[in-house]
């Protein structure tokens, strides 16, 4: 085991492979936040009055809110007045008419990330709505989706084209005063995705958005809204990387999912934002509010996330099971190394009868990283025969990292059944011995064991993402244990 210290150092010294900056002109608002900033964003986007009022309402509530302190992460306080709240690629102002009109530099950036934008049509079944900073620059397969009545577009476009849908559902799951970061997002969000699946339609392909933070000092405030009508199905993928920066970048996104009767939504995330350098300097602050509402009977919402990036993560994808027989799922693999900190988990609120939820969370902590699982399972009095199964396992690599678990369980119905299990351990020497005995070298053995540890979660990812996730994990943990 002598190699351990050495290899952990190696792991910590690995530079961030996706760190690069593209120089393109930006139409950026000077830093600062007040009501005029919000009016500017709203005017720039040509939004209707009700949305501006909603934003201003959120801003006023935000002004009275205090930044949360209950989380188990520490970071330098964010100066919200030093952030620029609007940045749109200039060339996008007129709006690209086709893929050919997309700024070649942006295309180059995507190429570096390995997103074959120009080869999208060949890209098996994946439609990409690429978000570059705050404005959507390209949307593909739109026509094909439109044939079935599926709407997949930027939320700013949806505000123009489908105002009644946006107005009905925006803020219905995450109200504009839900929490500090959600209120901030509600007042200044610039773009994001909008998905609407009509009644009885099974979305024929995985919908996917790649996010990328680019301009320095630009907080990114995405707003995603997915609505699945009766008996529909959609699988949505979200993946992110960010260029290398010294300044901490703030990301406060809000994702809202609404599933009506018999509808199913599957939401998968691979998050690989810049985690800061080997001294813990820089890195993205990722403060995200994600919530799904199973509004109809027999509906199902499933969250899968693979979190390997960001300096600080604050994220609790939740499901509110209001409809009878509805199902909520949460599968998560979170890897922290270097000086990364993550406080992540889920909230499952059971309201309807016979509702079921499953939580599987796997945390891997290496170097000086600190990771917490924080979850809440709540059974309200109406949740007859509700079931929950939670499992959260942590694996520690090195003796300077930490893994913490804070599960909250509130049960108000005796017929509800609930199980929670958690373990914390390191990779067993006996496990390594078993592998080496059979001719597998220690490094492969570690990879094998870690992959086995996370397998339950990877199984739930769509194919394209499972490959990416596995690769990410391999790269992240390469040479970590001898």
């Amino acid at each position: 085991m002598a190699a351990t210290t050495e290899t952990i150092e190696e792991l910590n010294e690995q530079s961030y492979e996706a760190g690069f900056v593209t120089d393109i002109e930006q139409d950026t608002l000077p830093p600062g936040l007040d009501e005029d900033t919000i009016r500017f964003i709203s005017r720039k986007k040509g939004e209707p009055d009700w949305l501006l009022d909603w934003r201003l309402d959120a801003y006023r509530k935000w002004c009275e809110m205090a930044e949360p302190t209950w989380h188990n992460v520490t970071y330098r306080p964010v100066d919200y007045q030093s952030i620029s709240y609007f940045s749109a690629p200039k060339s996008a102002e007129d709006g690209p008419q086709s893929l050919d009109e997309v700024d070649p530099k942006i295309k180059e950036t995507y190429d570096k990330l390995g997103i074959p934008l120009h080869e999208q049509e060949q890209l098996a079944g994946v439609a990409v709505d690429a978000v570059f900073d705050s404005v959507s620059v390209a949307t593909s397969y739109k026509e094909k989706l439109a044939e079935q009545g599926i709407i997949f577009c930027a939320i700013s476009e949806a505000v123009q084209e489908y105002p009644e849908l946006v107005r009905e559902y925006l803020g219905s799951v995450v109200p504009n005063n839900d929490n500090f970061f959600a209120a901030l997002n509600s007042s200044v969000f610039t773009d994001g995705s909008f998905v609407y699946i009509p009644k009885g339609v099974r979305c024929p392909m995985e919908l996917s958005t790649y996010f990328r933070i680019n301009a320095a000092n630009t907080g990114q405030f995405e707003r995603t809204l997915i609505i699945a009508e009766d008996s529909s199905y959609v699988s949505y993928l979200e993946g992110c990387t960010a260029p290398m920066r010294d300044e901490n970048q703030l990301h406060a996104a809000v994702v809202e999912l609404v599933a009506l009767d018999n509808a199913q939504i599957k939401y998968s995330t691979v998050q690989n934002w810049y985690p800061g350098d080997e001294n813990g300097k820089g890195g993205v602050y990722n403060f995200v509010t994600k919530r799904g509402l199973c509004r109809g009977d027999n509906s199902k919402i499933s969250w899968t996330q693979v979190e390997t990036g960001s300096a600080v993560t604050w994220k609790y994808p939740s499901v509110v099971m209001r409809g009878d027989n509805s199902v909520g799922e949460f599968y998560s693999v979170a890897v922290t190394r270097g000086w990364q900190q993550a406080d992540t988990g889920t909230k499952m609120t059971h309201m309807g009868k016979n509702t079921k939820s499953t939580i599987v969370s796997k945390g891997i902590s290496a170097g000086n990283a600190q990771q917490s699982y924080r979850g809440l399972v709540r059974m309200t009095p109406g949740a007859e025969n509700a079931r929950n199964y939670s499992q959260c396992d942590s694996m520690l690599i090195g003796d300077t990292c930490g893994a913490h678990t804070f599960p909250y369980i509130d049960v108000q119905n005796p017929s509800a059944q609930l199980e929670h299990e958690a373990t914390t351990s390191k990779i067993g020497e006996d496990q390594i011995l078993y592998c080496t005995q059979r001719g597998i070298d220690p490094e492969d053995a570690v990879s094998l064991i870690v992959n086995g540890f996370c397998k339950e979660v990877f199984h739930t990812l769509p194919m394209e993402f499972a490959v990416e996730a596995q690769k990410l994990l391999e790269v992240t943990l390469e040479d970590s244990v001898g």
């Binding site: 059974m379 520690l396 930490g402 049960v411 005796p414 509800a416 929670h420 958690a422 914390t424 390191k426």
Partner: protein
């Protein structure tokens, strides 16, 4: 907020009124206590650890300390005989020699009241009293430290083996109506010694007062200590207590708790593993009915390597009662080869009962095995059906399964009298359990 500030100064005045008769050796400790309380104030629901507790009945008006202990009713005197042993009784916080039975103490065992040492205490008491209790951790612990007037001191000398348990009974009487009592207990078991302690809290049903006890339990090197805490006050009482257990190398320290009394009860258990090879067990049962609220918090600190700890808490909830279990295992850097487990199970017997469970882990070391588990649910229908199919009545079957649920806490108790006693208290609350009583 003005009301709270006023209440705080009431407690300060009480402390100052006492200063003339305070024993000199206790003065610095009690001074620290009241100051710590003053600086913290009463907790509010905005504090994570007090989120579920409604303290307004306590914070809104001042509970003055009982001035003179009241008369103990015959119903309560009967209860004193529940456990044979070396008995020491405190009535409204004051030592009651006429109810105590301290004849024939074996060699090596000292049991007495703190007030006895008004003129000066032996070193073995002054050195340990309040030493390990963190008065900044919880305001009520600070309040007790500032205002206790008397308390029990149990000392077991190096290598002594005490066969009979030491039984400490805290009785609150009519005099405690609208008043506060601050019981304090210091148990110090020296290296290689072995002892059992039972601490019991009782009061008549209709008395609405405030009981704020603090118990210190310490096991020296290689010592074995079994500490039982039975909180069985009347249905209107409010009980907010703290237990601080600590163990040195290779000691075995077992803390068992029953919380079944009081309208509002809250107990914080702090456990410190100070030496290598410690085996620490913390096992509790909480029974609630009607509109009772019961809250148990644990903090188990693994400070050194090779420690083993186990926490098992089980709740049986009836009526519209509410319970909270908040358990924490904290493994410090350097505490290698720690093995810690934590388990909380709750049985909801009635529709409107509400249970909160927060089993937490904070781990700063990679070479450890820690697990925690938590379940909430009702009785298994198939098990109940099995019993019914064999001619056991519905009510009896339920009682049988409920007692079986509690058994994991009870069956490992080394003192059968205590486990049988607790089992009978569970059956008191259930119909059809007559045949299962230990006396039957």
């Amino acid at each position: 907020m003005a009301a709270i500030a006023e209440t705080r100064s009431d407690y300060r005045q009480e402390f100052e009124a006492d200063s003339a008769r305070r024993a000199g050796w206790l003065a610095p400790l009690q001074q620290r206590g009241i100051e710590a309380f003053e600086s913290q104030g009463f907790p509010t629901r905005r504090q994570e650890a007090w989120r579920k507790v409604d303290l307004t009945p306590i914070t809104q008006h001042h509970y003055p300390r009982v001035a003179e202990p009241g008369r103990v009713s015959s119903a309560l005197t009967d209860k004193l005989g529940a456990f044979p042993g070396h008995r020491v009784v405190f009535v409204d916080g004051i030592y009651a020699p006429e109810l105590s039975d301290l004849g024939s103490l074996p060699k090596g065992l000292t049991v007495g009241s703190l007030a006895e040492y008004a003129d000066g205490a032996p070193e073995r008491l002054t050195e340990v009293m309040g030493e390990r209790v963190d008065i900044d951790a919880q305001p009520f612990i600070a309040l007790n430290t500032g205002l206790f007037r008397d308390g029990a001191f149990v000392h077991v000398a190096r290598g002594a083996l005490v066969e009979q348990p030491v039984v400490i009974v805290h009785v609150a009487t009519e005099a405690a109506q609208g008043h506060a009592v601050y019981p304090r207990t210091v148990t110090h078991v020296e290296a290689g010694a072995e002892a059992r302690v039972i601490e019991q809290f009782v009061s008549p049903d209709e008395i609405e007062g405030l009981v704020v006890p603090v118990s210190e339990v310490h096991a020296g090197q290689d010592a074995i200590v079994d500490y039982h805490r039975l909180q069985e006050e009347g249905a209107a009482m409010r009980h907010i207590g703290g237990v601080h257990a600590s163990a040195e190398g290779n000691a075995g320290c077992r803390v068992y708790s029953l919380a079944s009394g009081a309208a509002l009860s809250r107990v914080d258990y702090y456990a410190d593993l100070e030496g290598e090879g410690v085996d620490l067990q913390l096992k509790g049962l909480y029974l609630t009915e009607g509109r009772q609220f019961s809250d148990q918090h644990t903090y188990v600190n693994h400070r050194v390597a090779h420690g083993t700890s186990s926490q098992v808490f089980r709740g049986i909830l009836q009526g519209r009662s509410e319970t909270t279990f908040d358990g924490l295992i904290r493994v410090f850097e350097g505490a290698e080869k720690t093995s810690a487990e934590q388990q909380n199970r709750n049985l909801l017997l009635d529709k409107m009962a509400l249970s909160h469970s927060n089993p937490r882990l904070e781990i700063f070391n990679n070479d450890v095995v820690c697990t925690h588990g938590s379940t909430v649910g009702e009785l298994d229908e198939t098990a109940l059906f099995y019993l019914r199919s064999r001619g056991v009545s519905q009510a009896e079957g339920k009682s049988l399964l409920t007692v079986a649920f509690a058994n994991e806490v009870l069956e490992n108790m080394r003192d059968e009298r205590v486990s049988n006693y607790i089992r009978d208290r569970i059956l008191d609350r259930l119909p059809g359990g007559e045949n299962m009583r230990s006396s039957a």
